[in-house]
């Protein structure tokens, strides 16, 4: 299935993608790199949509599987390196490794299925590390019966859900005052700290609370801080909603000096672990002698958004997710190649399930 020349091309592709630094909003060069490879790998109908997503297809079937991986990364350049055993560099785990593996796997699988029955659609999405604007734009154009979202799950993980997320922005404004008499005035710094402590006390048993930005006061030594701002990332567990979070905050943030707002919210999401895509992945893993693990992710991904297209969706991919967003992003060649095999076999399993009469839509 995966001969030496294809393995060599796979490594070259991932290395070239990792060498092309592509933080969110700056994906265009990496998209062009991938576009070149999709031509070499027999994809056709290759387009870049108005948002910047790359879409490439193989086949013409009435049924279709979309392989969606994001090409943008978080900021923070890591010098790309290939030492013979592993590739190191920003985004190699999250999620250029899974995306490159999907690109190779789609081409390989097309040799084993009738693509006039099952069309393979490869999508390199943009903006996933931002507001998922790439995935949101796909909602208007993408029709797919089955979707695999390429994210690192240590190969054997099948993610069928993820937590929701919101950005809580708190702004505090006070009248200031002399630091010699702090008891007479309200400090914006103290207000910010109190709001954070109150949020943590209220929510931290079920929600995940991470302050990502805090600023208050000034360098002037004799003025009670007038202004403060804090941004807190809140992860919403499955079973709770954005409205639940809003209600708790409304009831409990009671300070006249501070205002708050929720921005960039995404709902928690969970699909059935027996959906056709998850089944195809589990069958592919079993046939490769690997034991599937069903997981919900503590982070968010494009899966939540893309589930509006089909419930036959799951997330899977090579790479250790705990390395995502760190300065230690690295992927072994063995894991990468295993990821390619899982994706290719998943497409073949799906095709066989369709032939046997899967009626999913």
């Amino acid at each position: 299935m995966l001969n030496a020349s294809m393995k060599s091309l796979a490594v070259e592709l991932l290395l070239d993608l990792v060498k092309t630094y592509s933080p969110t909003y700056r994906e265009d060069k990496a998209i062009r790199v991938l576009e070149d490879y999709t031509r070499r790998l027999k994809y056709n109908n290759i387009t870049i949509d108005s948002t910047g997503n790359l879409i490439a297809e193989i086949g013409s079937g009435d049924k279709s599987i979309a392989l969606v991986g994001h090409i943008d990364t978080v900021r923070g350049y890591i010098k790309p390196l290939f030492n013979g055993n592993e590739i190191i560099g920003r985004g190699v785990v999250d999620a250029k490794g899974p995306l490159a593996a999907m690109t190779i796997a789609g081409s390989i699988a097309s040799n084993y299925i009738d693509t006039s029955t099952l069309k393979i659609i490869l999508i390199a999405s943009v903006g996933e590390e931002g507001s998922s604007y790439g995935a949101r734009s796909l909602l208007k154009t993408l029709k797919a019966d089955y979707i695999i979202v390429g994210e690192p799950t240590n190969i054997t993980g099948i993610a069928i859900g993820c937590k929701g997320s919101c950005r809580l922005i708190v702004k505090c404004n006070t009248t200031g005052g002399h630091t010699a008499n702090p008891e007479l005035y309200i400090s914006a710094c103290r207000e910010i700290i109190e709001v954070l402590e109150s949020i943590e006390a209220l929510l931290s048993r079920e929600y995940t609370i991470t302050p990502t930005y805090v600023r208050c006061g000034s360098s002037i030594n004799n003025i009670i801080p007038r202004n403060g701002i804090m941004i807190v990332n809140i992860r919403i567990p499955i079973g709770k909603s954005i409205e639940d979070l809003e209600e708790i905050l409304h009831k409990n943030i009671n300070t006249s000096s501070c205002t708050w707002m929720l921005r960039d919210c995404s709902m928690p999401f969970k699909t059935s672990p027996s959906n056709t895509t998850a089944r195809a992945i589990s069958r592919a893993l079993a046939k490769l002698g690997l034991k599937p693990r069903y997981v919900v992710k503590s982070g968010t991904s494009d899966m939540t958004i893309l589930s509006k297209i089909t419930n036959n969706i799951a997330e899977n991919g090579p790479g250790a997710p705990e390395l995502s967003h760190t300065d230690n992003e690295a992927m072994s060649i063995d894991d990468y190649i295993a990821g390619i095999r899982v994706y290719a076999n998943t497409i073949i399993e799906l095709y066989n399930m369709i032939k046997l009469g899967d009626k999913s839509r």
Binding site: E151, C162, S272, S282, P292, K297, P321
Partner: protein
Amino acid sequence: MISKKCPICGRSVDLPDDVLPGEVVDHDCGVSLEVILNNGEILLKPLEISEDWGE
């Protein structure tokens, strides 16, 4: 079809002949069941879903 007993409600669960370990089936009683292989015998157990790190 292979017929197995649901470990929760005891009623029968039909599985396709080519079912593989790790596949999940939803049973009428509301439980998701994972197919496992024990000494060559196909069995069912309630699915365990863990939480994984990840963006």
